[in-house]
């Protein structure tokens, strides 16, 4: 047994030291402010903010959500205030509370990503950029940058040139070979990988006999996708063991988070769980610390990728 106080919860993600390996997930905690009644944002590894674009964006029509077994479909369409409002209102709020921000950026072209990265240079409290090349709720319906190694690499190389903080590429599981996409992003300069984004899904209302979502298709998230996410992290860590990974996909508990660390993630994001339990990111961190203590593991760094090695009998 390791005592709770001794468990080292600090981790390093793409060269950035974080006090906790548990972060929020893009699109599931807005820019952090709404969670303030339920947890201390400064205690999180970081707040991963909802993907911001250059201009204000309305998002799609409603219905935008459908509950599915152990998951949900969303079809928000990247609603947001745009980068200028984000810089004026959201980042300063996080910085004033001592929270670290991982800023998720989304663009329709390489040039838009570059402009976003440029606007974020020198902004307060930005620890990392997460480059959302994999949101399924865009006009091209899942035919996103992250489905093509070359398109993904073009975005990442350009953002890397423009950014003044380390860059994570957010990958889609909706590809035949996620390792080849991951390798292309790393070769283009990505300092780490975020995985996974939602899976493209769909549900039909059997009363109206029509698709439930106004956007027809949506992104599937929640525990239903966790095994897919763990598999993706496992495969990429096996192929690229030196590449830092921020793991996410259906994490509800500390033991779920531990699976991702064991598969090779250096830190994790808690996303859809927040809709179920707004204090989930803080709770998952506590549960993870307890789980490490129970197993006599000194700290987070000691379990990253451990399942690839001898394990324990």
């Amino acid at each position: 047994m390791t005592s709770l106080a001794q468990v080292g919860m600090g981790t390093t993600l793409a060269g950035v030291a974080l006090p906790s390996p548990v972060l929020t997930a893009s699109g599931c905690s807005a820019a952090g402010r709404e969670l303030a009644p339920y947890l201390d944002v400064a205690e999180l590894g970081a707040v991963v903010t909802k993907s911001v674009m250059l201009r204000p964006r309305s998002g799609r029509a409603t219905p935008r959500m459908a509950e599915t077994p152990s998951g949900m479909l969303n079809s928000i369409g990247l609603q947001g205030p745009g980068i200028e409002a984000f810089l004026e209102h959201d980042l300063p709020w996080l910085a004033a509370r001592g929270a670290r921000a991982v800023v998720s950026i989304a663009g329709g072209s390489v040039e838009e990503f570059v402009q976003l990265a440029g606007r974020l240079v020198g902004a307060p409290g930005v620890a990392l950029l997460e480059v959302n090349i994999s949101c399924p709720n865009v006009a091209s319906r899942g035919q996103v940058f992250a489905c093509d190694p070359r398109a993904a690499a073009d975005v990442i190389a350009a953002v890397k040139d423009a950014a003044d903080v380390p860059v994570l590429a957010k990958l889609s599981p909706d590809v035949t070979d996620i390792v080849s996409i991951a390798a292309a992003c790393v070769q283009a300069g990505a300092d780490g990988l975020s995985m996974i984004n939602t899976l493209l899904g769909m549900a039909i209302d059997t009363d109206t006999l029509r698709p439930i979502l106004a956007g027809i298709t949506g992104g599937l998230s929640g525990p239903a996708i966790r095994p897919v996410a763990v598999r993706c992290v496992w495969q990429v860590h096996a192929a690229l063991p030196e590449v830092p990974i921020l793991g996410m996909g259906g994490i509800m508990t500390g033991l779920d988070a531990l699976q991702f660390l064991l598969a090779g993630a250096s830190a994790v994001s808690v996303g859809t769980a927040v809709f179920h339990d707004p204090s989930a990111p803080a709770r998952v961190a506590r549960e993870l610390r307890d789980a490490l203590a129970d197993r006599g593991i000194p700290g987070v760094a000691d379990v990253v990728g451990l399942a690839h090695r001898e394990g324990r009998r």
Partner: protein, 284 residues
């Protein structure tokens, strides 16, 4: 307004009322500072539930003295069924109070309150508060059937007049809740309207209010996933103070809106002039 918090709330009472279930919960942090029109978001299915999304319910009562709050639940899918059949003593994961309450007028006047189905739940607390401030209250309750009315027996205790309508005529007057509303607004010289219920009803009440140029505050029922403002699913097009329309969250900016600000005919669509619609690349 009291800041929301998350708590384990014990279910201390559960009883059928007509077509609904009235749940009583021990939730002092909610009861202490909730206003009429505010709501709570409840996790369903117990630990490890496969149902991830919270269910939102308007508060029917919130008593700071006892710490108890009550909500009205209509059973229709597995999540609400779980709540309805949860035994007394069950600990529920509750977040609240959420949303903005109905605004109360600065001066005493005459208010008409209109509710459809169990949309009446927040109207009783609202009626009491209006009368405490010296306002006259006229309450109109409507539902598809008598069984789907909520609170008709209690209504005379909180209102100066009560009008009950049902679509099938099984209780009260046959017809829609809005049928006699124009006459009521005129006869009572109402200077404010409040409504809660289905969207079509809210829109109709808003149109009557507009015709008489009286303010009209409505609590909308949009599907929510989180209730706390992070999921962006419960949006509807609302005209802001600057005259521009935006897709706004009904959980944090609502659920109460001034009816004339809501673009009723555009709910469920993405109007081209909404802020940021031009950035959707023609994709709706």
């Amino acid at each position: 307004m009291t800041a929301p918090s998350q708590m384990r709330a014990r279910l201390v009472g559960s009883e059928p009322v007509g077509a609904y279930q009235l749940l009583t919960l021990d939730a002092p942090a909610v009861a202490a500072g909730a206003g009429p029109g505010q709501f709570v978001a409840v996790a369903v299915g117990g630990p490890g539930s496969a149902m991830l999304l919270r269910r939102a319910f308007a508060l029917y009562t919130a008593d700071p003295a006892t710490g108890l709050v009550q909500v009205v639940v209509a059973e229709h899918r597995p999540g609400t069924a779980w709540l309805v059949h949860s035994p007394v003593g069950t600990e529920l994961d509750l977040v609240g109070p959420l949303g903005r309450p109905f605004p109360l007028p600065a001066a005493a006047g005459t208010a008409v309150l209109v509710a459809g189905g169990y949309g009446s739940a927040p109207m009783f607390d609202l009626a009491r508060r209006l009368r405490e401030r010296g306002s006259a209250v006229h309450l109109v309750l409507g539902a598809a059937t008598g069984e789907r009315l909520f609170g008709a027996d209690e209504a005379p205790d909180v209102a100066d007049t009560v009008t009950v309508t049902t679509d099938d005529g099984s209780t009260g007057r046959r017809g829609l809740v809005t049928d006699g509303l124009t006459a009521l607004v005129e006869d009572t010289a109402a200077d404010v309207l409040y409504a809660c219920g289905p969207m079509a009803m809210l829109r109709a009440v808003g149109e009557i209010a507009a015709a008489y140029a009286v303010p009209c505050h409505v609590a909308v029922e949009e599907a929510m996933a989180c209730g706390i403002g992070v999921c962006m699913t419960c949006v509807l097009p609302v005209i802001g103070a600057d005259g521009r329309s935006r897709m706004v969250r009904s959980c944090t900016e609502g659920p109460v809106f001034e009816a004339s600000r809501v673009r009723w005919k555009d709910v469920g669509t993405l109007p081209a002039d909404v802020v940021g619609a031009d950035a959707m690349g023609g994709h709706r």
